[in-house]
Homo-oligomer: 271 residues x 2
């Protein structure tokens, strides 16, 4: 008898794929009939707490995180679907603030559901259209590894009891998607996310941590926290974005600082 | 200060639409760039309990309910996205059973997410393609009101401590969508769902309850329970489906038994 806590999130996904029960679950986005579709669920007490953000910030964050998944697929956002579970004692004004936050990026809410729950549960599906989805499996030896902005802001802010806004990288994503061989948004931390790209592509991502742009107030280990939502891409043409490493033969993410291996903490959803 | 418990689900949706914060939330499905998209969230203890169904049944039901929403849009299912929150102590075998259930209708799972939660939270997005989506706002005076099968099975079974399987009405939905002026699947009970169509279409749905086909073991009031997932449509051509009423000038759902008004209980998500 194995529990998911022992197996971990990637272990469960491997089991599901091996048995043909699911595909693409770990991807940022599915492509269905030409449309890019992403989905995230946020559960109060697990993914957010109201002492760290208010109702409007929660809505803004939920929308922005899904739009970030679209950006990682080079997609232009078209619509959101929002399914919301709320306690019966929730104030109308709070619910309206939540939806105001969900609307902040200007992507229209075109459907969804509302229902009662004993804590706040927010599921957002985002839909977009992309001319070219790089995916995660195409990184090639010799590609540059680039990021679209400084990392560590979320880790640093979390230490201070807040989460920073999610950056809007839709335009960068569309530019990079034209040339990138693989791309994702940094939600799980640089070590784990670089490891995803490496594993799916059958290559090694060699990252030199001294080249990683750090957000104001961030320390290097904050880069492992995740939730920065900058894009990480492998590409033959860096297009002017910050180059932090190179794709090599081998496997895994090889993070070094001053030429020596350096271990960043990651984020394991089931532990 | 108004709570959602006082306002009710439809009250919240009215507030959201009035302020331009959301559209189409109460619909079965959104149509985005030609694709039909539905979304549902199931929370343990709110939408299901493991004493009423097991892991596989939960998965099967979550998939079937979303596929039913596609059927109500006349859509052929293409893919599911599944986001799943599970406690760390969940057994792998149970999680695999859940996904086996999600796969029972043969619609491939193409993406989603897994995460830790302190109770089971299951969000399913279904995507499909429809030649014509009837919507809910087009019912016309003189149309027949039809249902695709007997009602009350869920209410009757719930009294016995189980929920029956969700019927597969994809083919019926595609047929009806060619001619129907409005269509939905019966999830909230005949009284409320007929009321939805009437309100959106600006007409009255006159339903003669003695014409409603009852499932085996069901009593008339079970028809108000909902969760039957038969399709309810208004159409100039009944196509051989059971006619239970007529669209008239006026407003609301007018349910009669033997010519006298009859009040069926409904289901209010926030109460």
């Amino acid at each position: 008898m194995t529990t998911l806590g022992e197996l971990g999130e990637l272990g469960l996904l491997d089991e599901l794929e091996r048995r043909g029960l699911a595909a693409g679950i770990e991807h940022d986005a599915a492509v269905v009939d030409g449309l890019v579709v992403t989905q995230d669920v946020l559960v109060e007490g697990v993914h957010f707490r109201f002492d760290l953000l208010d109702w409007r910030e929660l809505g803004a964050r939920a929308a922005a995180v899904n739009i970030s998944d679209l950006a990682a697929s080079g997609a232009e956002p078209l619509a959101l679907l929002v399914s919301l579970g709320l306690p019966a004692e929730t104030q109308l004004d709070d619910a309206l603030e939540l939806y105001a936050g969900l609307n902040e990026r200007g992507v229209p809410i075109r459907g969804g559901d509302t229902t009662r729950a004993d804590r706040v549960v927010l599921s957002v599906t985002a839909l977009g259209r992309s001319a070219r989805v790089p995916g995660r499996a195409g990184a090639r030896v010799g590609d540059a590894v680039v990021v679209t902005g400084p990392l560590g802001a979320a880790g640093a802010a979390f230490r201070g009891g807040r989460l920073p806004p999610v950056p809007d990288r839709v335009e960068d994503g569309k530019r990079l998607a034209q040339v990138a061989t693989a791309m994702l948004d940094l939600s799980d931390g640089l070590a784990r996310d670089a490891g995803h790209l490496a594993r799916r592509s059958g290559v090694r991502l060699a990252v030199e941590l001294e080249r990683v742009p750090l957000a104001a107030g961030a320390e290097l280990d904050d880069v492992g926290f995740g939730e920065d939502y900058e894009l990480l891409a492998t590409t033959p043409d860096p297009l002017g974005f910050a180059v932090i490493g190179r794709v090599e033969e081998g496997e895994g993410a090889a993070l070094t600082l001053g030429g020596e291996p350096y271990e960043l903490a990651g984020w394991e959803h089931f532990r």
